[in-house]
Structures are given as structure tokens and as C-alpha cells.
Symmetry: C2
Subunit: 140 residues, 2 copies
Amino acid sequence: MPNRPGTLALVLHLSKAVHRASSEELLGMRLRQFLVLSYLHERSPSRQQDLCETLMLDANNCVLLLNDIEAAGWAERRRDPDDRRRHIVEITDSGREALFRAEIALDSLEDEVLGALSADERDTLRDLLSRAMADQPAVV
Amino acid sequence: MPNRPGTLALVLHLSKAVHRASSEELLGMRLRQFLVLSYLHERSPSRQQDLCETLMLDANNCVLLLNDIEAAGWAERRRDPDDRRRHIVEITDSGREALFRAEIALDSLEDEVLGALSADERDTLRDLLSRAMADQPAVV
DNA sequence: TATTGTTATACTCTATAACTATA
DNA sequence: TATAGTTATAGAGTATAACAATA
């Protein structure tokens, strides 16, 4: 009969710890907004649909999130000329600056949350998580 | 300027993938109930307060969660004779059985979510996560 | 007076369904 | 008819404050 706290349970707990440790005040934005801008920083312009799927957001949720981000001036949406039903999302210079500041803040938060691990161990952790995520069906 | 998806962002994404992949139907209980029973399986009887702190649950949230778990017959609460303000929580045989079935289900889910990693790599991941979690301030 | 647990309440996040426009 | 995005609405999860019982 298994009993040790499983790997997935640990992932859930650590995620909760990150949510608790992060605040809008610290990042200058909400955590979910940060994740969107991080995505856009790597792939911009990007189709709204791809963004939603990769970040595992409901279509509805995605719209509301992008509304706020666009209102903050961090990204812009425009119609795809090839298929006017689609939206193309692109990060703005202001968005990159906000993202940069948030990343600095998140680095210090990472020191806090992963303080028990050495630099090498954090690299290992990151590599393992990255490969696990790449295999997720929802991710494009 | 940093740009790679950070380790913490990966933790958040993987956590979301776990939430998405798990269902009450699959586990026979809710994910949050599973986490409580897992805790109790290791430390039972346990003070309600300790349980709340370790699982990073609000006092309120903890009460509601334990209400449901107790109603399902998976755990019991009783007053602490030494301090009648406190509650002692103890898992029941029925709770252990339900936990066991859920763990079996979660194992297959782990295969799904961590399918990209070898057994050794999963052990490494579990070790790193476990040590990171042990260092969290909220955890008793 | 301080603490543990509970209740009441509201807020955030997420999910479902119906609607608009484009194809 | 089908799809991308939006809107409206409800549900789940979480947080805040007031309360009761006990110390």
C-alpha cells in the first residue's frame, strides 16, 4: 500500500506555496498576467487560440485575461487578415518592460521558494519540469 | 534580460495540468480531499490546526473541507481533552480504503502527466520537490 | 484577553452555454 | 454548418470578518 506523499501532490503543494508567496504588489501584475506575458515574450505575435491552449485557459477566461492585459497597454489584439475570425496577440514595449520588472521580482521569490536547492539542483528541477510539460496533451 | 520560462512558472503549469487531468470520477473524491487524507494517513491523529497549516488551508476552508470528509465517513473529529478548544482529526478505516483506491488512480495519472520522465528522473523530481517543500515557512 | 474552531459573507478563479462575426 | 471570439451566468475555490466556546 503506497503512502509517501506522491510527486503530483508535491507539485500541487509547491504551486500553492508560489501562489501564496506572490502578490500583485510584488510582481506589479497578477500571476496569471505574468504567465501570459511570458508566453508572448517568446512567441509574439501569436494566435489567441494557441495562447489559450498552451496556458490551459478556457476561451472565456482567456478573453477576460487579455482584456485586462490590453487595457494595461501590455499587449494588443488585431484581426488575422487571413481569417478575420481569428485574433493575433502581440506584446508591446510597455508589456516587455512590465514583464522584465516582474521577472526580477519573481527571481527573488524563486530564491525564497527554492531556497533549499542549490543552483545545480534548480537547473535539474527546471529541466525535468520542462520536459514533463512539453509532453502534456493540452500544450501545442 | 531573462526570458526562458522560469522554474516557478513550470511548477504552476504542471499543477494546472494535474488539476485538469484529475476528476472526482477518477479519484473517487476531490483532489483537495485526497490531499487531506494523504496527510492524515501519515499523521493521524493530528491537530486540526497543524493539518490546516501544513496543507496551506484557511481556517475557514479547512473546516468546510473537513465537514465534507467527515460526512463521507473518511475521518472523525473530536475535542482535545487537554485543550477543549482544539480538535483532533483522525482518519477512519473507510478513509484509508478510499485513499488507497484514489492513490491507485493517481498513479496512473502520474504515468500520464510525468510520462516523459524515466523512473529515475521521477525519483529525482520527487526528491527535489520534497526538499523544496520542506523548506516552506508555512509548513509545520 | 487570547485562541480554536465555526459561521456568514464576499471576492476571485474557473467552467458552461448562448450569442456575434466570419468562414 | 462550423469555427474564433465574446458575453452572460453560474459554480467552485479562497479570503475576510464576526461569533461562540474555551483557556
